[in-house]
């Protein structure tokens, strides 16, 4: 079994005479991260979530164009999704499996946590074709962990974490003794 690979050749095209940048057949804009930070600080939560979901949906669509999401293995799915996220400049994306729970880890991301959570949810939805919900488990200077699950399960974990329960214990409680 050969390891899955991501081919980034001509993933981004810069049309200098026209002054445009295109990625995956659609135009993109190079935006300084500081501008996004200012926007996140001043915009309402709904606007931030909408921005995040829009960025993530584009990444997911481009990844889905490279594979069959219904039959793709975990490694292959993660490889294409992480490749498209790297081209967009979101950061290094990987997947952790905590029992039955799916956790997406984004390292070295210039985006804040409140923007990353809707971004990851939209990317997974677009890549897999399944509606998912996400919540931010942890965020430090290097990495951010986002739980991917149902709306109900994610809502319970969000309440536990807000109540002070460590995110690892919250995931354990989510399983309810099922491994």
């Amino acid at each position: 079994m050969t390891a899955p690979s991501f081919d980034p050749t001509h993933a981004v095209r810069f049309d200098l005479p026209r002054g445009s940048v295109r990625a995956g057949g659609e135009g993109v804009l190079l935006v300084p991260t500081a501008a996004l930070d200012d926007l996140v600080l001043s915009a309402p939560a709904e606007a931030i979530e909408a921005l995040g979901r829009a960025l993530g949906a584009a990444i997911g669509r481009r990844a889905a164009a490279r594979m069959n999401p219904s039959t793709a293995a975990i490694e292959a799915f993660v490889t294409h999704l992480a490749g498209e996220a790297a081209i967009a400049g979101v950061g290094a994306l990987s997947v952790e499996r905590w029992g039955r729970a799916l956790v997406v880890v984004v390292e070295d991301s210039p985006l804040v946590g409140t923007l990353l959570s809707p971004l990851v949810a939209a990317a997974v939805e677009a890549a897999s074709g399944r509606p998912v919900a996400c919540t931010l488990l942890s965020r430090d200077e290097r990495s951010a962990r986002i739980l991917v699950g149902s709306e109900r399960g994610v809502g319970r974990v969000r309440e536990w974490v807000a109540a002070g329960v460590p995110w690892g214990e919250a995931i354990a409680r989510l399983h309810g003794g099922v491994t």
Binding site: P69, S70, T71, A72, A73, I74, A76, F77, V78, V95, R97, G99, R100, A101, L102, V124, S128, R130, V132, V148, G149, S150, G153, L174, H175, T179
Partner: protein, 270 residues
């Protein structure tokens, strides 16, 4: 003087001392009183002036120097102690002996009555006419310095020589010494004992058993041994690697989805 002569002389002294000690004192006192009868005349002149005047001291009589050499040989093998006694005994010291006067029985007037009835009559007269305190003074004066009763001086040195020769009596400490002062006692004098007599000798260092230990042993014998720092003696177990240590009871995680879609479905089912 040979040793035999010394022994002979000492035996002669001993015989004379024993002969003198066997004589009755009363007879000796009578003889001495009789000898002093001609000198008893001054007793009749007892009055206030005579009692207050100091008694005439006895004449200074010095006996010839007596040199006595005594060689004492102990029963031990090598110890020889030679003692040389050289004394100049004066008669004044012997005459001042108060013990002799006190120990002798007082001579009664009855004993004197036979030899000199006139002197006895005078003494009785003095006793009847004089008050008791005057008589006590007279007795004291007479006891302190009996100038009127001459005594034989020859036996005194002989007795001292006998005491010195046979060790009959040690010299007594001076009387009427002041009482010891209160306070700290003086430290005892340092006395050095001869090891040959006491048998206590200083131990000699033991010779080393091996030649290489000679120098360290000599150094350690001179200098005190330094205090060693304690160090732990570590004993570690020797464990070998083994694959049979692990005993897996069950799989930690049975869930292994083949596709990402199956994983996503499992996460959505929570």
């Amino acid at each position: 003087m040979s040793q035999a002569e010394k022994v002979g002389r000492l035996e002669a002294l001993l015989a004379r001392v024993r002969a003198r000690s066997a004589e009755p004192r009363r007879a000796r006192a009578t003889e001495s009183a009789a000898a002093a009868a001609p000198a008893a005349e001054p007793v009749t002149m007892l009055d206030e002036d005579v009692l207050d005047a100091p008694t005439r001291p006895p004449p200074q009589m010095t006996e010839a120097d007596i040199v006595l050499e005594v060689d004492v040989q102990e029963t031990s093998q090598e110890t020889v102690i030679g003692v040389t006694v050289e004394e100049a005994v004066t008669v004044e010291v012997s005459l001042e002996s108060r013990e002799r006067l006190v120990a002798a029985e007082p001579v009664g007037l009855e004993a004197l009555g036979d030899s000199s009835p006139e002197a006895a009559t005078e003494i009785r007269g003095v006793e009847q006419e004089s008050p008791p305190e005057v008589l006590a003074d007279v007795e004291e004066v007479v006891e302190d310095a009996p100038a009127s009763s001459r005594r034989p001086v020859a036996p005194e040195p002989e007795e001292q020589i006998a005491e010195i020769a046979f060790g009959a009596q040690e010299p007594q400490p001076p009387r009427h010494t002041p009482p010891p002062e209160s306070g700290r006692l003086p430290a005892a004098p340092v006395v050095e004992f001869d090891g040959d007599v006491t048998g206590v000798r200083e131990a000699t260092p033991i010779a080393p058993h091996r030649a290489e230990e000679l120098e360290p042993t000599a150094v350690s014998a001179l200098a005190p041994e330094p205090v060693r720092e304690l160090t732990p003696d570590v004993t570690r177990a020797r464990l070998t690697a083994s694959e049979d240590v692990v005993d897996v009871v069950g799989e930690a995680q049975r869930f292994a989805p083949p596709t990402f879609a199956a994983l996503l479905d499992a996460s959505l089912s929570l």
